[in-house]
Amino acid sequence: MKTLFSDLYKKLNTGFWPILIVFAFLVVGSISVYLSPRSLSAFLILITTPLILYFMKINMKIKIFIGLLLIIVILPVLGIRNIFYLEVIFQMAVFAALALGLNIVVGMAGLLDLGYVAFYAVGAYAWAIFGSKQMSLLHSIPGAAPANAPFFLDPRWFWLFIFLGVGLAAFTGILLGLPVLRVKGDYLAIVTLGFGEVVRVLALNLDKPINLTNGPQGITPIQRPPLPPEAVMQVFRNLLTPLVGHPPTDAEFYNVFFYFLALVIIAIAILVATRLEDSRIGRAWTAIREDETAAIAMGIPLVKMKLAAFAAGASFAGAVGALYAANRTFVSPETFSFLQSIGVLTMVILGGLGSIPGVIFGAAAVVLLNIQVLQNFSLYLSELRQSDAVIPIINFAWKNLSNQLDPAKYQKLVFGIILVLMMIFRPSGLIPAERRKRELVEDKE
């Protein structure tokens, strides 16, 4: 079975086949999404195109061209026809950036961090507190805020806050790292978990003595950065109207805007992660991961390198946090629960610890599973519930199935199964890291 697949893969990956396959996916995917914007399978075809592109052996220039065509032209245009897809891709990008950050800590440096969303929360709350009316409501009781309170900062400050988010999160990472890096392995995991919970509980309860986070209600509205000037917008509007079928509204433009913003952040994240991996620091992290004692003996400054890993990983989350707060215009403590930390960890594990293409794939797959596949399964179940169908052997009528049984809410089940199965059957992930592959090859000789 395995050889059959690898033979097929090899055969399809020679001559003109690869380019043909990629084009087939691209064209079929685009047309089917264009024609039926609500179909899940059409979207799945389109969204697997980048994956196929990654695996096929094509001239690098053509690869980049096709990739850019897909990302810059096809997806936004199709996305305006069905805004939901842009939302899905936005989430994929957000989680991919988070997964890339966590990958630095867990995959490269081998420090299991179970409280990663804490840094995400730091970035998000930084912009949420200063980019909303919260600063002028510090002394009012949550929920009883005066309606005419002014916004504290101009929305254009957002651009600064992305960088501030990076800095703040990195600082928090160092702050956490300093005391806890003395502990190792599974202790570290529990301490970081505790830290994640501490941040969440603080966000939940810091509505008194001064109302900093507005407690469980969360902060809203948070300002978005302004769209480009009207003249530029008019050009885009004219350009897109025939393609989309109606003049795009500002709300739709915002979706495209955040989509591109997320893409820029993910591009920078990929760049930073790859450069880090191949740098002196990256090699030091690998050494620490493989054998701490040997790493110290080789003269690697252990604490400094671990702190660097924490700070670098956290900074990704900080930037994404600010982006997320602006996109949602709302943050609440529930977004930053332990479940979310494990979700990001699941993405890293599924894709492959330490593998940059792997974790991006993992993030995309888990997001897709969460908000597309499970949703559709929920819909299917509710259809079954309304029918007269019966499960044959145990004679259980679908009608008696509880309304509360909504697969979309069973993320924990999915994450749990993925984690256990991956650990047992393929601990190196679906797209294992290059370095691990090299290590495996060397072992054979």
Binding site: L112, V180, V183, G185, D186, F195, I342, G416, L419, V420
Partner: protein, 377 residues
């Protein structure tokens, strides 16, 4: 005297009970003294009432609450510490084993109520049956989890079984929720009212105007927990299986060379730890009265903190750690609000455990009673 010290009655009964009483008394008195001292220090900051008087007024109740929850933590912590002893890994799914025990126990009691015999049965028999059922289910679940999720991973790098355990924990939470909500959609389970557990025993203390009010529940929880701790002590220190468990914990390869079936001993360890966790679940349910599939998370983490606080891998340490943590939490929940004049309150008690954990790991990673575990951790 020497003869008496070696006799089984002393070794397996008097000594452990004495130890428990000593730990309980020692930590309560110590923390009470610290609190009163703090009350004197902060006295002048607050003007509208006498801080010392007010602190003393609620002190006995705080101590009793702390001891009750402390014994539950101790019982759960033993599960963590035993598994850590033999496998050197954190059984993250232990909090779910605990949760399953509680839910199974409550469901049994609810079933009795459904049958209409709850009121006629002896209340202590009902509790005993619930605990026995919880022990059986939780014990076998723990062994199953070990077989499925941890056994294939022996010898893998340390993070691998830990991640698998986290996955198992998440899986169990939602699986229980799925089973509970399959037909009715309701996944909260509520302990039916029965017996005289909510009533108070009145104990007149010399020198105090009001008699001390102790809930019967608390007495039962502490009593059962002490009973289980004594049985566990006998099992680990007085039987051949216990000897084998200790041998495996000390040196697995050598134990295996001595003819001990290591994987069987590991299973037994999970069985014992799971059984304790299940029983603790029922005790917790008695106190909390309302459970849901996600209830295990915080008690589990706090129990783990207790295990670390006492020195992980050390059974006596887990007991002491649980008591200290339960008391600390109870003190924090009651006094934080009084001492800070309402600025911070009981809502911070959940993160209090983490603060303690971090402090312990920084200043004394081996815990209160543990030996150096530098390389283990």
């Amino acid at each position: 005297m020497k003869q008496f010290a070696a006799s089984p009655v002393y070794k397996f009964f008097l000594f452990p009970i004495g130890q428990i009483i000593m730990f309980a008394l020692g930590s309560s008195v110590g923390l009470s003294l610290i609190t009163v001292l703090l009350a004197y220090v902060f006295k002048f900051n607050v003007t509208n009432f006498d801080l010392v008087e007010r602190s003393l007024l609620i002190l006995p109740q705080v101590v009793i609450n702390g001891l009750t929850i402390g014994f539950v933590y101790s019982t759960i912590a033993l599960g963590y510490t035993m598994v850590y002893g033999v496998l050197e890994f954190i059984n993250f799914a232990h909090s779910e084993i605990f949760m399953v025990g509680g839910i199974v126990g409550v469901q049994l009691i609810a079933y009795f109520e459904h049958l209409g015999i709850l009121a006629t049965l002896n209340q202590y028999l009902v509790i005993a049956l619930a605990i026995i059922l919880a022990i059986i289910i939780s014990g076998s679940l723990a062994v199953t989890v070990e077989r499925v999720a941890y056994k294939p991973l022996r010898g893998a790098p340390k993070l691998v079984p830990l991640i698998s355990a986290i996955g198992m924990s998440f899986f169990l939470q939602d699986a229980v929720r799925l089973i509970l909500s399959l037909t009715t959609g309701e996944f909260n389970v509520i302990l039916p009212q029965f017996g005289t557990f909510d009533e108070f025993l009145l104990v007149a203390l010399p020198g105090m105007a009001d008699p001390l009010r102790i809930q019967i529940k608390s007495v039962i929880i502490v009593g059962i927990a002490v009973l289980m701790l004594v049985v566990l002590n006998f099992l680990v220190n007085g039987t051949k299986v216990g000897k084998a468990i200790r041998a495996v914990a000390q040196d697995r390869p050598s134990a295996s060379l001595m003819g001990i079936n290591v994987s069987q001993i590991i299973s037994i360890t999970f069985l014992v730890g799971g059984a304790l966790g299940g029983a603790a679940g029922v005790l917790f349910a008695l106190k909390a009265t309302k459970l849901d599939p996600f209830v295990g998370f915080f008690p589990g983490l706090k129990a783990f903190t207790s295990a670390v606080l006492g020195g992980i891998g050390n059974l006596t340490g887990a007991l002491l750690g649980g008591l200290v943590l339960g008391l600390l939490e109870s003190f924090a929940a009651s006094y934080l609000s009084i001492f800070t004049n309402g600025a911070f309150g009981a809502e911070y008690k959940d993160i209090f455990a983490f603060a303690i954990l971090i402090v312990v790991l920084i200043f004394r990673p081996s815990g209160l009673l543990g030996e150096t575990v530098g390389q283990k951790a």
